[in-house]
């Protein structure tokens, strides 16, 4: 069942308190982030309905928002998501090669997840790291100045982390 912990519910209350009375709808985007982090990295219908009830919104208000923003995953994803930027400045610095390399190393296409459920590959548009290209987002942080060797290192690091 989808249910925040007491601590998370306190966090939701803190978020709601950032806005004037009656404007708790503003908490929707931050609370969806929290929900996605908590419930398996994606937003199921059940999760979205739960968020709607928490914030006293109609479920449709939540679906509308969840489908608009690219950071919300509406399907299950792997444990680690490689979000590789492919816009102009990164392309100039070889992002296509990095994407191809990840595809062949992991044996998956863009938008796909490895069969062990560990890795998902996504391509994204400019993440504000153009001077440190090529780059990808990995969870909360960026991995920049990517090379094939660095990609190998990241994959090994995450496999080791998952094994523990």
């Amino acid at each position: 069942m989808v249910q925040f912990s007491d601590e998370q519910l306190k966090k939701v209350q803190e978020i709601v308190a950032r806005y004037p009375d009656g404007k708790q709808k503003s908490a929707l985007i931050p609370v969806l982030h929290l929900a996605q982090e908590t419930f398996g990295g994606w937003l199921s219908a059940e999760t979205m309905d739960y968020v709607a009830s928490l914030l006293k919104l109609e479920p449709i208000e939540v679906y509308e928002v969840a489908t608009f923003y690219s950071m919300y995953n509406l399907k299950p994803v792997g444990r680690y998501i490689f979000e590789v930027c492919q816009t102009g400045p990164c392309m100039v610095k070889g992002s296509d090669d990095i994407i191809d390399y990840i595809k062949s190393t992991l044996g998956i296409g863009v938008g796909e997840t490895t069969s062990d459920g560990l890795f998902t590959l996504k391509t994204v548009e400019c993440l504000g790291a153009c001077g440190y290209a090529p780059m990808m987002q990995l969870g909360k942080h960026y991995r920049e100045h990517l090379t094939k060797e660095k990609v190998d290192g990241i994959i090994a690091e995450l496999r080791a982390k998952a094994a523990n």
């Binding site: 400045p89 392309m91 548009e125 504000g128 153009c130 001077g131 440190y132 290209a133």
Partner: protein, 452 residues
């Protein structure tokens, strides 16, 4: 060495902490403004400084502040635009990451001037780790008594909150940002009414860029007139430029707008020239939306004058032969880069980011991407180039928000200045798949640098 007002202290050890920031003279502008100036005097100082919005449009900040409606009993809001998603732009990130207290300080002074008791920083969702940095800085400022109730005993109350977006370039457009902050899809609003009258939750609101708000700190510290003496003409003060692409030293530079484009690209103080002895082909000087310029027009204006790194000079010649300062995202392309391919990635970006409200933008961005893709992959026809031109003309000016224009301009400029390269692709569908067009007549007018 140009004067630095924003990043001067960015590399002092520990400057992210309140303690070090304060020791280095931080929060002096809050003390000065709140204790010795009225809110209107602060606005007046910003007006005198000539500071222009650093988010892309370059609108005078003091003027924007003075337009804020002040009806009795209605709250007013200041919202800091930290959505930073224009390809090529990563300056706000740098400022927030390395010297977060500078932004917080600027926000407190601006909130005082505008009467905002709840001030929001709307930050792009992907900058997740910077949220922690900012929240830490806000907590420290609260602890030190620069935020909260009755700040410095002046009776002014203010709190700053960080709101994370969730991935949508359009939320950088100020009215889409406000929609998003209200918990909705980021669909831009029809203007008027402008946010200064009806903004966040229908209340009067000012939206300013991160760098604009940070610049308020030196303006209050040294005075508007003094600030206006730095720079040239209507390009006052300093500007952060994020430089990327084919240069030796990508990064964020603070310039005082009196240097030339040539110096910016080739001097070791800034971009450090182009790697591997390659020559300059083209540059998008102000973020992906502004017109791309071939090397010859980038370094010199059509009149043959040295082009300078400031608002007026970059725009010299209009869209026919000039470009724009935009957001300060400086993208350099060397002789090996393909303009068609580069334009395609930008067209894809705008198609992906269109909110879909207006047909010309929603449909037009999709068509442009498709046609460019055909040309790039050797399936283009000669008539496609005119068709592209036609589509971009039909988008520009016919949409609710400027994203439509922003999508049209890069395509228009690429065809305007690099038409022969597009034609070459169409006429050489096989060859264009394994080699690039190169430099042609817009060749780098500088001699090939001697490299070891």
């Amino acid at each position: 060495m140009g004067r630095k007002l924003l990043l001067e202290k960015a590399h002092v050890e520990g400057i992210r902490t309140y303690e070090v920031y304060r020791r280095e003279g931080g929060y002096a502008s809050v003390e000065k403004a709140l204790k010795s100036m009225s809110p209107d005097q602060v606005t007046e100082e910003v007006k005198k400084s000539g500071l222009r919005g650093r988010g892309g449009a370059g609108f005078p900040a003091g003027m924007k502040w003075s337009f804020l409606a002040k009806p009795e009993g209605v709250p007013r809001y200041l919202v800091c635009n930290a959505d930073e998603s224009e390809p090529g732009t990563f300056k706000d990130r740098y400022l927030m990451e390395f010297i977060p207290h500078l932004l917080i300080e600027g926000l407190i002074v601006a909130s005082y001037a505008l009467g905002s008791e709840r001030t929001y920083i709307y930050i792009r969702g992907e900058y997740a780790w910077i949220v922690d940095i900012l929240e830490q800085a806000i907590a420290e400022a609260n602890q030190a008594g620069f935020l909260g109730k009755n700040i410095l005993g002046t009776g002014f109350n203010c709190q700053i909150y960080v709101q994370r977006g969730a991935g949508a370039y359009i939320c950088g457009e100020e009215t889409a940002l406000l929609e998003s902050l209200e918990g909705k899809r980021g669909n831009p609003r029809i203007k008027p009414p402008f946010p200064a009258v009806k903004g966040l939750w229908d209340c009067p609101t000012v939206v300013n860029n991160v760098e604009t708000l940070a610049a308020v700190v030196p303006i209050i510290n040294i005075g508007g007139e003094e600030y206006a003496k730095i720079g040239v003409g209507k390009s006052t003060g300093t500007k952060l430029i994020s430089a990327c692409g084919n240069i030796n030293k990508p990064g964020v530079y603070e310039i005082d707008m009196t240097i030339s484009v040539e110096e910016f690209i080739y001097s070791d103080e800034y971009c450090g020239g182009i790697p591997n002895g390659k020559r300059l082909k083209a540059c998008i000087p102000g973020g992906s939306s502004v017109p791309i310029l071939p090397a010859n027009l980038l370094l010199k204006t059509a009149k043959g004058e040295q082009r300078m790194m400031n608002y007026e000079s970059l725009a010299d010649g209009g869209f026919a032969t000039g470009s724009m300062m935009g957001s300060g995202g400086f993208i350099v392309l060397d002789e090996d880069q393909c303009v068609v391919r580069n334009t395609l990635t930008l067209a894809r970006f705008y198609r992906h980011e269109s909110c879909g409200q207006c047909s010309p933008c929603r449909e037009g961005t999709g068509w442009m991407e498709k046609i460019l893709k055909n040309i790039e992959t050797g399936k283009g026809k000669k008539s496609d180039i005119d068709l592209l031109w036609d589509i971009q003309r039909k988008i520009e000016g016919n949409t609710i928000c400027p994203l439509g224009d922003a999508a049209a301009w890069p395509v228009a400029a690429a065809i305007r200045h690099f038409r022969d390269e597009f034609e070459w692709h169409v006429n050489n569908p096989v060859e264009s798949q394994h080699r690039n067009f190169g430099l042609a007549h817009y060749a780098d007018p500088l001699p090939v640098p001697v490299t070891a």
